[in-house]
Amino acid sequence: MSTLTPAAPQSTPPGPTALNTGRSPRRRGKARMDPTRNNTAAGIAAWLLALLFAVPVLWMVLTSFHSETDAATNPPSLAANLTLDAYREFFGETSGVSPWPSLINSATASILSTVLVLLLAFPAAYALSIRPVKKWTDVMFFFLSTKMMPVVAAILPLYLFARTVGALDNIWFLILMYTSMNLPIAVWMMRSFLAEVPEEMLEAAQIDGANLLLILRKIIAPVAMPGIAATALICFIFSWNELLLARVLTGVVAGTAPVFLTGFVSGQGLFLAQVCAAAVVISLPVLFAGFAAQDKLVQGLSLGAVK
């Protein structure tokens, strides 16, 4: 009964679960005929593929620092002079259209919805792991099943409701939508992180007469905090990336950064460097959040099933 961590699909060995630590050193040099040569070939192949996958990102960054004329050449001009012109253009130097309102809307919607998600998901995860309700697995699968319903299947009533009550183009309505979008994932993630809190420690604390707050602070928080932080970062990323709801439910006032980006969909003429600058600026928060959550990213994205 000690392993009530059912979200793990297989026998994960106990101990540290970070990605690169599962390896035992004894594997090297044993058995394989020539492990070093083998690994060099794998290393070169891995690096080539990694670079291939990274090329679009690196090209986006490089092009964003080129002038528009250098950006749109065939063959590409790799060594062209670097300039910040594209960023100045993106921030509206000549057009006067500033992306700041949309960036602020995105930040507001992502941060506030993440806070709401955590406030709702933490107690729920608590009631599904530390003091589980009866039939808690059924509840878990209900949460998961709501995530399987595509947004398009509910968006029309939401749109009509918003229009009727005058909540169209209102950032608060979007915040509520993002909260519901991320809540099921957050519950699953947090449950898996809370399930790592050792049961014996909880029992011992309870016997010692520790109250709930003290248990939360001294026993649950130290174990679950990195996981909760990763959950928050992943929810932030999903909200920041969202386009469909934002496009349907917001307009000029509450439009988010992805909606702003769609302004570049059909652009023609010399604007490639500016598109790249826009993509870089809008992707930066996600890149930071993603790399910050890197260690727990797999566990989070797999809803706690993989450690």
């Binding site: 392993t3 699909p9 035992s24 891995a46 909260t179 809008i282």
Partner: protein, 322 residues
Amino acid sequence: MTTATARISRPGHNAAKPSRDAKSRERALAWARRAPLLPALVFLILVTQLPFVVTLIISFMNWNSLSPDKTAFAGLENYATVLTDPDLRQAIFTTILLTVSVVLISLLIGLGLALLLDKKFIGRGLARTLLIAPFLVVPVAAALIWKHALLNPTYGLINGVLTWVWSLFGSAAAPQLDLLSQAPMMAVILSLVWQWTPFMMLILLAGLQSRPMDTVEAAQMDGATPWGIFRHLTLPHLRQYLELGGLLGAIYIVQNFDAVFTLTAGGLGTANLPYAIYQTFYFANEYGLASAAGVVVVIGTIIVATFALRTVFSLFKKEAAR
């Protein structure tokens, strides 16, 4: 003291003798357990389940907001349209093709990458970071980059590199691709595979690194070939990780809107159901039809999800029973 311990133990532990007093106290305790769950549950039902019920109702109505006076009960008419209208049927087919191909291709490439990254080599951490990067570009931004900076027929990077390589050999007649207009579906698939491969790789890499190494070593000692080890030890172990990656990938890619919207605007047979539904209610104002199409998506998802959920559930049970 004893009640305190009983309170934190899991259900089943507190098998108290059923007296009336104990029963009502147990009921109170059960509600105390449920209380933290309720806000999340109620919120989710209000915001996701209720609207779907409304969608279900609208799907049986003839309702175009441009001619509200013709609003009436339509029976199954909308569903018949969804299944016979060539555009919507095409959208159903596109959704299936897009989801299946993106999931399978990114799983395969992700598996290859995970196998490579499972070995020790110089700069492995950095290579892994580079490989995650595609997943951490905002989807709309990624689609824009593919559309304008990579696939653009005149100055995109892909054609630029082709020109450059051909000029190295003194040729001015490099082949030039125009995926966006000649094979738009491939363009969408390509960009989505690029974004989702890192996700698959991460899950499979975690799976590889949880492999019990002693059996692999024993097999190696017994002279098993690397292929034999992969086929008979690694792959069976990875099966549930492959299923999990496929399931989660499918959930997200079925709902994809950003790539289709940005790369092709649903043109040339690339409109999937989410995009088609968006168009039907947002531009054509056919509320009834859009709702029926939405219900069809949900039915399709339920069919897939039943299989998928069964997989997850068996894993879940297996672990809970240990």
